[in-house]
């Protein structure tokens, strides 16, 4: 038994030394939603640690006290059926813990699924984040700009991400701002985040989506609102417009660096039409598609005119 404790302590030491230098991303929140999650995680770790210690201590006690080598040769262990009180305790205490954690869990569920607390006064910034093999496209409908593989966001303003995918299921995740949510091809999901602190954060697709999953990352930069406005203006002044052809090209499977466009793909390639798990079925969809195509033809005409200039 001793060897085990030695090993456990070695591992704990290694773990602390290795991680001591920098806090773990998830436990180093830079936004209100990530803060809620980090608090939940730490709370549950402490409660679970208590349970683990109780079980370990009971086990150690039983093994030390009742091992055969410590007992009489003739000792005959008694027949014990079970005791109502002991078993009630074994059910009762875990029930109390589970009830407490359930309340915490439900409370946090409603918090992370709503506009972050303290940010309700300002209109949230809506960003459509869509994935394609293996890139992320960020459309800012309000600002009418679009970026690929990088995301600039203002601090101190609620962010509402509308997630969907041009392919396999992906999961949009910025650990320091909050937990992830799936992006799927047939519905739009909403993820509420906000950044408290300016800084650069790691964002990635966390869900396996084929060969390029590992490199399916994006950079996130949170900056004060004024700086964000400046950036938007700069993009509008310098970036090229996103044409449908260009977007089709971007959707081709592969990896790309960052790029920036004016206009968004939302006009010619709208997100799946209904939210909250609504689905397009059968004829409705094909009808919608037909209309889309009609629109496409017009818009591509426009673009070609544009090019002639």
């Amino acid at each position: 038994m001793k060897i085990k404790w030695v090993f456990l302590s070695i591992i704990l030491t290694i773990a602390t030394v290795l991680t001591g230098c920098e806090p773990l991303l998830v436990l180093d929140p830079k936004g209100p939603q990530a803060q809620i999650q980090a608090d939940d995680i730490m709370l549950s770790i402490w409660i679970m640690l208590f349970i683990v210690i109780v079980v370990f201590a009971m086990l150690a006690f039983m093994l030390i006290k009742y091992r055969a080598s410590k007992q009489d040769k003739d000792y005959e262990p008694p027949h014990i059926e079970g005791s109502f009180i002991v078993e009630a305790l074994c059910i009762g205490i875990p029930v109390i813990i589970v009830v407490f954690l359930s309340i915490m869990s439900v409370k946090s569920n409603y918090e992370v699924e709503a506009t972050p607390k303290g940010y309700e006064d300002k209109e949230p910034l809506v960003v459509y984040a869509s994935s394609s093999d293996w890139k992320w496209h960020f459309s800012y409908p309000e600002e009418n700009i679009e970026t690929v593989n990088y995301l600039y966001i203002p601090t101190d303003r609620a962010l509402e991400f509308k997630l969907y995918s041009y392919g396999p299921i992906t999961s949009f995740w910025i650990p320091q701002l909050g937990g992830q949510k799936y992006a799927m091809s047939d519905m739009v999901t909403t993820l509420h985040l906000a950044a408290d602190v300016p800084g650069e954060y790691m964002g990635r697709n966390a869900n396996f989506s084929g060969k390029g999953t590992a490199e399916n990352v994006f950079d996130v930069k949170a900056m004060p609102p004024a700086e964000f406005e400046e950036w938007v203006d700069e993009v509008k002044a310098t970036a090229k417009p996103l044409t449908e052809d260009k977007f089709e090209e971007l959707l081709e499977p592969g990896h790309l660096g960052r790029s920036t466009y004016t206009g968004t793909h939302l006009e010619f390639s709208p997100p799946p039409s209904s939210e909250n798990g609504g689905h397009d079925h059968g004829s409705n969809k094909s009808q919608a598609e037909d209309e889309e195509h009609a629109d496409h033809d017009k818009s591509s005409e426009k673009h070609s005119e544009h090019d002639n200039h």
Partner: protein, 648 residues
């Protein structure tokens, strides 16, 4: 030549070519060996056509150990690739194929047959029966499982492995994104094995409900039998869902339907829901028999009755019911809203309560006991703390808001390995060591066994504890590489070292089998562990008919009562015993199913139609066959009994 192109591996590597050569050479060596030693007849008569639950159990066991090594080699390759940042050992495609096959092989073709092995061998003995209720169906179950497993395993040398993860989420697993035949293998091989499992479920439920020894009421059944009953009940309810999901997936891939596609009304998350409606109960199918094994072992080596028998039984029934109410916790991040997540969060946490009851009952079984640290007991003792860690991280994952941060990360990977390895794998190795003398007539070496248990535990801790940390640091699962700047390097190296230590542990198991086969004493009693239940009341090796006379059970521990309280186990005189005949039909049906599956995978429609007809013809032949089994005469029984008593 064009016809044969489809069988080529789309993304070959030297390792795959080496495997092809190795597989061919092994097959040749086996065929040559069987011919040289003139063992074909023996193989056919004694094994391929057997309907004896003990032999079927041993065949399951051999398959499980083989698959353990297949899955284990996969695991080592995965950890080696991740051991250093930006490693080039495997490319993304190979990594994806390997983690997919690792998952499928370990869950469906290692853990499941391992449990089937112990269930087959132990349950009829434990309830004092002569065989299972439907012996020939049992053989068919085995052969369907085996052929499914083999079909899945040839994928990496013929046509390409599946590469969409063991969960095979659509649309990734659909034709658009998974172009090789790999996922066809997944759909069809698991389907074939799954049909076998479903039949086992029906078979064992019937056996346990109808064939118990006189006096053994439901609440006097040994704990492993109870756990098997509950697990088989879950099988019967859960596997049809998998059957349907796989059929839909197969149709999407081969017949152009749109159940799970991205357009024409397909719903990709429907697959995820169906998969986990089966998948979550599946983990309880694995863990409950494991709990049963631990209950037997802890009670035997604490030299005490199992504490809180009734609450153990009720907690298992409650777990079984809950197992169908928690599936959505596998995708809290799907966006189904706070209310749905809250409901599934609470049901998931609630499972911790009955599981906790079991942990405490095992601890109280040790209380006032006389604990002997044999190898099986060592596994059980190591299981309790390690499994507790896995259990509490499960509760953490159940908090759905926090799960947005754990989901799809190494934290999750650490958690489920933390419950499956100490929970299921240790239980199976403990059960293997515990029942080995009953199966083969000699004991496995205790010293090597204990070394194995310690190495596996230390390796396990080193391999998986770091993943909790890297998970919280943002390392997503299923990434074939990471850059140095992420800082995941050192901890992943620790994981690799742990995996290597576990690898040594598994090699020691093989060495132990070899060593003990050569050197262990054959002079052991029928009850070498001084155990408490009926399976130890018959001879070693167990005669074909299990018990010469039907045993009488008046309590949970009839053998213990016989030893201590003078309970009379065998009241009856010998009577002639009715036994089932061997049959080649299950094996033949299995082979036809293999050909059927292979044709299906590659869309070879003509062979598919022929084999489909073949399946129905063999089934019809079986239906019209008049086979009433045979009787073993009293003289023959007496002869066997005298010999076995003398041999001991």
């Amino acid at each position: 030549m064009e016809f044969f192109d489809r069988f080529a591996v789309p993304h070959p590597s030297p390792a795959i070519y080496a495997s092809m050569v190795a597989i061919s050479l092994t097959a040749l060596a086996v065929i040559a060996g069987l011919t040289h030693f003139k063992k074909w007849g023996y193989l056919w008569r004694e094994w391929l056509t057997t309907v004896d639950h003990k032999r079927i159990g041993i065949m399951y066991l051999i398959s499980a150990l083989l698959m353990l090594f297949r899955g284990g080699v996969d695991a080592i390759m995965l950890r080696a690739q991740l051991a250093t940042p930006d490693a080039k050992l495997l490319d993304a495609q190979h990594y994806n194929e390997i983690f997919t096959t690792h998952g499928v092989v370990m869950i469906l073709f290692m853990a499941m047959p391992f449990i089937m092995a112990l269930m087959n061998f132990v349950v009829p003995l434990q309830i004092g029966a002569r065989d299972v209720a439907f012996p020939r169906l049992n053989a068919l179950s085995f052969w369907l499982f085996f052929m499914g497993a083999m079909l899945f395993n040839i994928s990496f040398v013929v046509g390409g492995s599946p590469d969409a993860g063991w969960t095979s989420y659509f649309p990734l697993a659909g034709n658009d994104f998974s172009t090789s035949v790999g996922t066809n293998y997944y759909m069809i091989a698991i389907q074939i094995a799954g049909i076998g499992t479903l039949m086992t479920g029906i078979n064992f439920m019937t056996t346990i409900l109808k064939m118990r020894a006189p006096g053994m009421t439901m609440m006097k059944m040994p704990m492993f039998t109870w756990s098997s009953l509950v697990a088989n009940l879950i099988i019967v309810f859960a596997f049809p869902v998998l059957t349907v999901a796989l059929a839909m997936g197969t149709m999407d891939r081969l017949f152009g339907t749109n159940f799970f596609t991205t357009d024409n009304g397909g719903m990709d998350m429907l697959w995820a829901n169906l998969f986990w409606v089966w998948g979550h109960p599946e983990v309880y199918i694995l863990i409950l028999p494991a709990f049963g094994i631990y209950s037997e072992i802890i009670s035997t080596f604490a030299r005490r009755n199992l504490y809180g028998y009734k609450s153990m039984v009720y907690s298992m029934v409650v777990i079984a019911a809950y197992s169908f109410l928690v599936w959505a916790h596998h995708f809290f991040t799907m966006g189904q809203g706070a209310l749905t997540n809250s409901i599934f969060s609470i049901t998931t946490m609630a499972i911790a309560v009955p599981t906790g009851v079991k942990i405490f009952n095992w601890l109280f079984t040790l209380y006032k006991g006389k604990i002997e640290f044999t190898t099986p007991m060592l596994y059980a003792i190591l299981f309790i703390p390690l499994f507790t860690l896995g259990g509490v991280t499960g509760v953490m994952l159940a908090m759905s808001a926090a799960d947005y941060q754990y989901h799809n990360t190494m934290f999750l990977v650490a958690h489920f390995h933390n419950v499956i390895i100490p929970g299921v794998v240790f239980a199976m190795l403990a059960g293997l060591t515990y029942y080995w003398p009953k199966m083969f007539g000699f004991m496995l070496n205790e010293k090597i066994g204990k070394w194995t248990a310690w190495l596996l535990s230390i390796g396990f801790i080193l391999a998986f504890m770091p993943m909790y940390i890297t998970g919280l640091d943002g390392q997503a699962r299923r990434m074939y590489t990471y850059s140095e700047s992420t800082g995941f390097g050192p901890l992943n190296m620790v994981s690799f070292i742990g995996a290597a230590i576990m690898g040594i542990g598994f090699i020691l198991i093989v060495y132990n089998i070899y060593y003990s086969t050569r050197y262990a004493s054959r002079d052991i009693s029928a009850d070498p562990w001084d155990a408490r239940t009926l399976e130890w009341a018959t001879h070693t090796p167990v005669p074909e008919y299990n018990f010469a006379a039907v045993p009488q059970a008046d309590s949970i521990e009839p053998l213990w009562d016989a030893k201590k309280k003078g309970h009379v186990l065998f009241k009856d005189k010998f009577e002639k015993i009715h036994m089932p005949n061997n049959s080649g039909m299950p094996f033949i049906i299995g082979c036809i199913f293999f050909a059927w599956g292979f044709s299906f995978v590659f869309g070879l429609w003509v062979p598919l139609i022929i084999t489909t007809i073949g399946i129905f013809v063999t089934m019809a032949l079986r239906s019209f066959e008049k086979d009433h089994g045979h009787y073993i005469s009293v003289e023959k029984i007496e002869e066997t009994e005298t010999k076995l008593r003398g041999a001991k």
